[in-house]
């Protein structure tokens, strides 16, 4: 995570709640998030995901350590650059008409009128501009939140449960929008419960549990390719053919190779040694399995 220039840095950051700081929400978080990528924060309920985002944006003050964005304090960064932000359960005052609300919020970001109109069209909110926020369905409200978060000109976008309430089509579009931000060199930080969605869009996954960072996983590693192989019966030769193979749930093994040629050569060797392959598919250890392991540890 240090290869690219650090954009966000947590240095031994901690947060305690309660009158006398009795509740440890986050403890000793040290984390560097590089600019230009997608970082997902996952973890069970109460793990501290929202608190982490609150610290990142300067909405909450750390009770220990520090947090910075591009070397500035989070609030200074926000005041200077603004960010795209979608809170968990996004809402605006119920009486606000959607169109006026978008004009006000994006106007505060300094976004020109024509780009605001383009954003409204992009998120297919045009038929709903005269409706009030209170009259929107959950999915439309989430789209309104995403529209104001994804409006152009912000190098950092922070999304808390972005897929919540979206239908399958908009989930796919959300994935494309996040990918487009990555391609444009922007940084996206998101918190989500949806591990399969996270696996599809994130470059880096931070697993939080009970207020601490348990694991930081580079999901899109380019150094090797990972496959999952299942055998009819376990054979001792597997370790010799695929060094470092690890057993996962469902009778599968995770194996690592450099390319397809190496994969075929090793599978042939395995069959030669009496192995009977029942299935072979791409895909590393599922995030879900890593999470389960982390939770059990």
């Amino acid at each position: 995570m240090h290869a690219q220039q650090a954009m966000i840095e947590f240095s031994h950051a901690g947060k305690k709640y309660g009158r006398r700081g009795r509740v440890d929400a986050l403890t000793d978080i040290s984390l560097v998030i590089p600019g230009g990528g997608v970082c997902a924060v996952v973890g069970p309920n109460g793990a501290g995901k929202s608190t982490l985002l609150g610290l990142l944006l300067g909405f909450l003050r750390p009770t220990a350590g520090s947090v910075s964005i591009s070397g500035e304090s989070p609030r200074d960064y926000l005041n200077t650059h603004g960010i795209g932000y979608l809170p968990d359960r996004f809402s605006l005052p119920a009486g606000w008409p959607v169109g006026r609300g978008m004009q006000a919020l994006l106007g505060l970001h300094g976004i020109p009128a024509d780009e605001i109109e383009a954003t409204i069209d992009r998120f297919e909110l045009r038929p709903h501009v005269s409706k009030t926020i209170g009259g929107l369905s959950r999915g439309l409200l989430q789209r309104t939140g995403l529209a104001q978060a994804f409006a152009p000109g912000r190098p950092l976008i922070v999304l808390d449960e972005p897929a919540e309430g979206l239908d399958p089509i908009w989930r796919i579009r959300l994935r494309d929008m996040v990918a487009a931000q990555r391609d444009a060199g922007n940084t996206v930080v998101l918190a989500s419960h949806d591990l399969s969605e996270v696996e599809r869009i994130a470059d880096t996954v931070v697993i939080l549990d009970r207020g601490t960072v348990r694991e930081v996983i580079a999901v899109r590693s380019t150094s090797d390719v990972t496959y999952r192989i299942r055998l009819e019966e376990q054979i001792s030769a597997l370790d010799a053919v695929f060094p470092g193979a690890t057993a996962v749930e469902g009778g599968e093994y995770i194996v690592h190779v450099h390319d397809l040629t190496e994969l075929n050569r090793r599978v042939a060797a395995l069959i030669e040694l009496g192995g009977r392959v029942t299935s072979l598919r791409p895909g590393g250890e599922l995030l879900e399995e890593r999470m389960r392991r982390t939770a059990d540890s």
Binding site: G54, L57, G58, F59, L60, R61, R75, L78, N79, T80, H81, G82, I83, G84, Y85, P87, R89, F90, S91, L92, P93, G95, W96, P97, R100, G101, Q103, A104, L105, L106, G107, L108, H109, G110, A113, Q148, V158
Partner: protein
């Protein structure tokens, strides 16, 4: 800035029910004033209490006096109604975080909202109070009424904002300290605190809303005397101090 201009409309739109309620409240008082005037018009076109007494007895005269006193507190009422939850409601609902993600500082945003709502409150009060006086007294009140309105709005507007950055019960706290100040100044005027330590009475008087200064402005207006500008300046200084503390807290507090 365009965003703030768009917010102006939204601020007024989202408070339209409160504004309508205040207009209804105002209309009720104007109708009452017209009724008093119709029942008992004096020689100079003013409402004559003796004539009112002969029509409706103590009940009607008391109603008229109570109407006059409460309409004098209209700037306080409007400040509470328009400004309650000015910041605290947004924090509770999570809107403040969305606003904070923009390039506009929260101080600018909420300062703008305060100015807008105070201007609206002043406008409504500046129409209702002189109109009520004109109907009841048969003549236009002097410019002192606008100073009185401004003084009330400054004190109770800044108090509501001050409490709003600390607690959700901002309007209740403002009412509580208003009543506290009324009682305290009544005790001071009545000499009930003569034996209390001077430093203590001075400290409490300074901390509580400047009811003494408000009374001085109101008395001068009632007697058509020159406006006591020193009292008005004290009101301005008290309000400015509250707003500075609120501003500092707004930039420092978690949201």
């Amino acid at each position: 800035m365009r965003g703030l201009a768009a917010l102006t409309w939204l601020e007024i739109h989202s408070r339209r029910r409160r504004i309508l309620a205040l207009l209804a409240f105002s209309a009720l008082y104007l109708v009452a004033a017209i009724a008093f005037r119709a029942l008992a018009t004096g020689e100079h076109g003013q409402v004559e209490p003796d004539a009112l007494f002969s029509v409706g007895g103590y009940a009607l005269v008391s109603t008229m006096l109570l109407s006059g006193w409460t309409i004098g507190r209209f700037p306080l009422v409007i400040a509470l109604v328009l400004l309650h939850g000015i910041f605290s409601s947004d924090v509770t609902a999570g809107y403040t975080r969305v606003y904070a993600s923009t390039r506009v500082r929260l101080l600018t945003l909420y300062g703008f909202r305060l100015l807008l709502l105070l201007a609206l409150a002043f406008l409504m009060s500046a129409v209702l109070l002189p109109a009520f006086d004109a109907i009841m007294l048969g003549k236009l009140s002097g410019s002192g009424i606008f100073v009185l309105i401004a003084a009330y709005l400054l004190v109770f507007g800044s108090l509501t904002v001050f409490f709003s950055v600390f607690t959700r019960a901002d309007a209740w706290c403002t009412i509580f300290v208003f009543l506290g100040a009324l009682v305290w100044h009544a005790m001071l005027r009545g000499g009930l605190l003569a034996d209390a330590p001077v430093a203590l009475t001075q400290a409490v008087t300074m901390i509580l809303p400047p009811q003494g200064a408000l009374n001085a402005i109101e008395d001068a207006f009632g007697m058509a005397a020159p406006i006591p500008w020193s009292a008005f300046l004290y009101v301005c200084a008290y309000s400015a101090l509250l707003l500075v503390i609120a501003g500092v807290q707004l930039t420092r507090r978690e949201i």
